[in-house]
Every structure is written in C-alpha cells, then in structure tokens.
C-alpha cells in the first residue's frame, strides 16, 4: 500500500530560517511542498521518511536564501497492482461504486467489475448484487459508508500541471515554485485514480463474507 520513493530536489531555505537546524528546516520545506500531493506516475505523497544526503548549500546573487540539493526518501501511497485494499463506499453512481480510504478518495469500481449479476437501483442510487441462492435471488445492497474490500486492477495518472504553449509532458517544475493551489480548484479531474474490482470471492462488502 505504501512505498518508499527516493527523490532529489533543490530546497530553498529563506534567511529567517537560518537559525534552525538545516535538516529540520529542509524536512519542513519538503513536507510543505509534497505532503498530500500527487506526483505524476509516483503516487500520493504522505510524509518525509528520511534525508539520505545533503550537498553543499549555495547562495545566489540577489537572493538571500540558501539552496541545497537534497537526496531524500518519501513515504508515498501507491498500491501495487492486484493488491487487496480496504475502503468505505463513498457513493454509487452510473459509473460504478466510488470508494474512499479517508486520506485517498479517487477509487472507482466500474459496473463490469462488480459481483455479477449487478444492478443499479435508480430510485435509491445504489448498486446491488443479485445474489442467487436456492431459495431465489437476494438483493445485496452496496450502501454508502459500508466497509468494502477490493482489488486494485489499474491506476490512472493525469498530468494536471499547467500546460504551457508547448506541451511539455514532463512535470519538471522549477523547485522554487510550489505547485499552485488553485490548480485543484480549476480542474475537477483527479490526478491519480485507482480502478478496482470486487468480482472475486471474498471481495465486496465485509458483511457479505462474515457469515
């Protein structure tokens, strides 16, 4: 579910933080920049794990801040394919079942990956599994807030960084510029989406398999 990612970045420490321990100030800057953000093709950043190497710091003309190249490791949420995860149903829609893990929301289980036969109840806006037994079919509803176990089948990264005149596809943002916050507001598209399935025995609502 979580992985360690090795990264290198140039960190700018403003002069008013010079009285602090360098690695402390750097840790804070890195967390300020990365925590709770999605890095393209890497995953959702959680927090700094450790700093492995600090290069010499430089001061450039016209800027009182110090610039340090930092090698560090970051904790990132990036489940591997076929990993089993536990979440809660956020809501159901025509597109499928939307699942949340609290810290990560963009999980979709498309209709074809639900336990079959599945049906969408238009009136209640909820998916249900028409589970067949000897005594006839049971409708198992997938209500909001229920715990659900699913398997990760795919991941979709969308580059939501602002596109310039030329479509530079690498997210090579200058390290001194933090990713703009309005980016998230402007675009609704999620930068990182997980596609799940519950079409296997043992997957789906936990209550289905308890008894």
């Amino acid at each position: 579910m979580f992985v360690l990612v090795e990264m290198v970045d140039t960190v700018r420490i403003p002069p008013w933080n010079f009285q602090r321990q360098l690695n402390e100030a750097i840790a804070e800057e890195l967390n300020k920049k990365l925590a709770n953000k999605v890095v393209y093709n890497v995953g959702l950043c959680i927090c700094l794990y450790d700093i492995t190497k600090l290069d010499d710091s430089y001061i450039f003309p016209g800027d009182g801040a110090s610039h340090t190249i930092v090698h560090f490791r970051y904790v990132v949420f990036h489940p591997f394919l076929d990993e089993i995860l536990l979440g809660k149903i956020k809501y159901c829609s025509q597109e499928g079942v939307h699942v949340t893990m609290g810290f990560f929301d963009d999980i979709l289980i498309p209709p074809e990956s639900l336990q079959q036969p599945a049906k969408f109840d238009e009136a209640e806006q909820v998916w249900l599994w028409e589970y067949e037994t000897d005594e006839g079919a049971h409708d198992l509803y997938m209500d909001q807030g229920e715990d659900i176990r699913f398997r990760v089948t795919d991941e979709i990264f969308v580059d939501t960084s602002p596109t310039g005149p030329a479509t530079a596809d690498l997210p090579a943002q200058p390290p001194t510029v933090p990713p703009p916050a309005e980016e998230i507001v402007e675009k609704k598209e999620a930068p990182y989406t997980l596609i799940g399935t519950i079409c296997d025995p043992g997957l789906g609502l936990l209550s289905w398999w308890n008894s």
């Binding site: 992985v3 804070e28 591997f80």
Partner: protein
Amino acid sequence: MEVKNANAAMLSNYEVFKLLTDLKEQRKDSGKSKNSTGQQNLNTIMYETLKYLSKTPCSRQNPEIVKEFLTTMMPHKLTKAEKLQLLNHRPQTAVEIQLMVEESEERLSEEQIEELIHTVAAVLPGDPEQENAAPADAEMGEAVEQS
C-alpha cells in the same frame, strides 16, 4: 525535482503508522506557533492516514511481532508482496488467504491454508473488539486503546 527510484522499498502499514505517530508527537512537542505555518497539507494527510491506519491490525503490532511473523512465514514460501498483505490485513478466513496469495489453489493445500490462518492469528495481535464476547465491553476496550 527528480525521482530517483519510484519504488525503493515497500512499507508495511505498521511502519507508516509508527512514523506518523512519532511525527505527530514530535510536532506537538516542538510547539505549533512557529513551525506549523504552511503545513496544513501535512497535518491533513497525517490525520487522515492515522485515522485509517488506527482501524487496521497494524496499530497493535510492534517490531518484534513483525519480525516473528516474517520468521514464521519462511517455510510457506510466499512472495514479499503476499507476506506484506497478510501482515497488513491479518486474514482470518480461507477466502481472504486465497485473495492475497496468488494461485493459492495450486500452491497451498487446504491444510496449509488452515495452518496459515492459525499462525497469522497466533502471531499477530487481534482486534479486542472481536475477541471480547460482549459487544459493550469491546467498545470500551477499543476506546481505551485509542486514548
């Protein structure tokens, strides 16, 4: 920014839980006023992730338990990813094991699955809520553990 290695290592839920709990303590001690400006993102993700992880079996694990678990798993010849999932989920039924272990039908016999469930339950501490008979007591137990 440059990503050197997007998958340097896999972390178990327990490791992340421990890291975040320590970080939270550390930040509490160092005082909020001066250092926490612009750290809302960190605070949000820390709170949400801890909230999620504290409900999983990892909140009751410690380094010794994890080590013991890995040693007892050696004869089962499971892959790293499979062991990680067993550790994170603490499966209690055969159907869960079959989900987490690839091609479990061919690789594991029914006895082996039973044995696996047994070891997992014995080595990894379970949820007090499920182990207490009375539901009222269970809620108390959980509340005490969280505080």
